[in-house]
């Protein structure tokens, strides 16, 4: 580029070439370093898969009134402790229902319904309440300011607020004072590769088989087959929130 007669474009092409090469180098170099560190790390999970939609099918005809196996399993798995006061957290509870006109009774486990259009996500001012790529609705406690607007918005009373300082949290389930929380579909287990939630597992182990957990988007999964075969409803379907939890028998 020094002593030769200038090209027709005044050396611009050469300049652009060098600049592009330099830019590419600058942009790629940090990536190269990160790959180095990542390879040295322990087994890292793949993360939330947007092709998946986790859901639950609860067959209330198999739910006995007074049975709390799913509730106890959730409390143990997530380190919640047994609730005694109205300020204690409940991620799942059994609701005994009786139809007024007919008198028909049922026992229904209710937890966060993991809606496709979650009202709690719409109202959260900081975006702490969010829906993950695989459909699980979670609270990012790093951003939660504890305004409780999501608790006002939830139609299912699914969310709890932590009213006092906590100690002895489960290492996989961080939770603390001043933030809102709810059923996570045992996201810490799913991310590790386990196939089901604590409540579904406990119900199956006890022989009731009322809770089926799986990928609603996978036509071959057990839950997808079952919801194709039997009649199911969503709670408060009139609100058009498209919950990921479906019920049979109510």
């Amino acid at each position: 580029m020094s002593g030769e007669p200038k090209a027709v474009d005044g050396g611009r092409r050469a300049w652009l070439g060098v600049a592009a090469a330099g830019l590419a180098g600058v942009m790629l170099a940090p990536g190269v370093r990160l790959i180095e560190i990542a390879r040295a790390a322990p087994a890292r999970t793949g993360g939330a898969d947007p092709a998946v939609r986790w859901g639950m099918l609860i067959d209330t005809t198999k739910c006995a009134p007074g049975c709390e196996d799913c509730v106890t399993a959730c409390q143990t798995e997530n380190g919640l402790g047994t609730p005694t006061r109205p300020t204690d957290a409940r991620w799942i509870r059994k609701i005994e229902i009786k139809e007024i006109k007919t008198g028909r009774q049922a026992s229904v486990p209710v937890m966060c319904q993991h809606c496709a259009e979650p009202p709690c996500v719409d109202v959260c001012p900081t975006g702490a309440s969010f829906k993950r790529a695989d459909g699980i609705v979670l609270v990012d406690r790093h951003s939660c300011i504890g305004c409780r607007y999501c608790m006002m918005a939830c139609p299912y009373k699914a969310r709890s607020f932590v009213h006092e300082p906590l100690t002895d949290q489960h290492p996989d389930v961080p939770r603390g004072k001043g933030c809102v929380e709810s059923c996570t579909l045992c996201v810490h287990r799913l991310d590790r590769g386990e196939k089901t939630t604590a409540c579904a597992e406990a119900c199956a182990k006890a022989g009731h088989g009322a809770i089926v957990f799986g990928d609603l988007n996978d036509p071959g999964s057990e839950i997808a087959r079952r919801v194709r075969e039997i009649q199911t409803t969503q709670l408060r379907a009139d609100l058009k929130l498209d919950p990921g939890v479906r019920y049979h028998g109510i």
Binding site: E96, P119, P125, G127, A153, K157, E164
Partner: protein
């Protein structure tokens, strides 16, 4: 020139306001250290007494600016000299209300997160801008009124403040209006309802402060001015009563929420008591009597009416905010339900001392700001200037 007595009295008032505010801040601190378990709020009633105080102050902050709007935007001469005081009260009330709201958060130290992370489908996120923008706009508006060479700009600034506070109060009503699941709230009517409520509550606060300032300075409102302001308050109370009635009728006849309405209006114990006795009787009918009855009207009567309206406002807000949460969510329509999480049961709520102290602390902060503002700048409405025609 301020007399020694005036200066001493000023500092006494500042000490009083400062003490009340400090106690409120102390209450907030204990709530932060021990958690909300020391309040009466739980997983069923998540917004309690602090929200009643905060929302009253925020709605009144918007409404108190009405006085200025009628002066600057609509050109009514009686209201023009009152515009600066109205602006000051707006900022003071907004500051007090936001203080209570932010200190009641589960993690008040994370207000910075709220200021830097926004989810714009949430009314709360818009409110961060609407509320802070309100303070800025009113500050500019006050400036145009105080700075002589900018007086010509006070009308555009007044219009901007008017539009902004309509959006803001619509937002406040929509906080509740957008909650689809709660029988008390899912209504488009709430935004206009809050706007009309703000008119009455704001004017009532203005009249209380104006009366206090006049009494303090041994001055008297001209009779015609008093008559105009009291008639206006009466009209606002009537309009609010009308919209509250429409809201309940809508719930009954359009949304068919007979159970909820029976709870609020007849069976719910404290809630019907506060609604009928507090809001309707003491907060609306009695003040209207005091304001419209020709024989009863006097300076003292107008002050009493304004104070009653404020009391009625607190009663209505308690019924609206707490009563709306006390009624259980209808997860299984057509069914009777029970659970260990109080599903199907009316939730009990009794506010505790930290909640009262925090709410009153917010009022103290508004009082403190008003006192200092009134001392520092000339907010006293000057009716005897020749430019003002009665």
């Amino acid at each position: 020139m301020k007399t020694i007595a005036e200066t001493r009295n000023f500092w006494l008032l500042v000490a009083l306001g400062g003490l009340v505010t400090a106690v409120g801040l102390g209450a907030a601190h204990t709530m932060e250290v021990h958690g909300h378990v020391i309040t009466g709020m739980d997983n069923a009633v998540v917004w309690g007494l602090p929200h009643v105080f905060a929302i009253f102050m925020i709605v009144a902050a918007s409404g108190v600016l009405n006085v200025a709007s009628i002066g600057s935007v609509f050109g009514q001469p009686v209201y023009k000299p009152r515009a600066p005081l109205s602006g000051l009260l707006s900022i003071a009330l907004l500051a007090g209300g936001l203080m209570v709201l932010m200190l009641d958060l589960g993690r008040p130290e994370r207000v910075i997160v709220a200021a830097t992370h926004y989810n714009f489908s949430s009314v709360f996120a818009w409110n961060v801008f609407l509320y802070s923008g309100m303070v800025a706009i009113v500050a500019v508006y006050l400036w145009t009124m105080f700075e002589r060479r900018f007086n010509a700009w006070s009308k555009p600034a007044g219009i901007a403040a008017l539009v902004w506070r309509f959006v803001l109060t619509t937002g406040t009503g929509s906080i509740f209006g957008f909650l689809v699941a709660r029988q008390a709230y899912q209504s488009a009517l709430l935004a206009p309802l809050f706007i009309v409520l703000s008119f009455g509550w704001g004017l009532a606060v203005f009249l209380v402060v104006q009366a206090a300032m006049y009494r303090w300075n041994d001055r008297h409102l001209p009779a015609e001015t008093l008559a105009r302001l009291s008639r206006l308050l009466g009209v606002f109370i009537a309009a609010s009563l009308y919209l509250v009635a429409v809201y309940h009728l809508t719930n009954l006849y359009f949304a068919r929420q007979a159970g909820f309405e029976a709870f609020i209006l007849r069976d719910g114990g404290i809630f019907p008591l506060l609604f009928w006795g507090g809001y309707v009787l003491l907060g609306s009918v009695l003040p209207m009597g005091l304001l419209f009855h020709p024989r009863w009207r006097s300076e003292g009567a107008v002050l009493a009416a304004a104070l009653l309206v404020v009391a009625g406002a607190f009663a209505w807000l308690f019924v609206f905010i707490v009563g709306g949460q006390a009624w259980p969510l209808d997860i299984f329509p057509g069914h009777v339900v029970s659970s260990s999480f109080s599903d199907g049961q009316i939730a009990a709520y009794r506010p505790t001392a930290p909640e009262w102290l925090l709410g009153i602390g917010g009022l103290g902060a508004a009082f403190l700001l008003t006192t200092i503002g009134v001392r520092a700048l000339d907010f006293m409405p000057q009716d005897d200037l020749p430019a003002v025609k009665h």
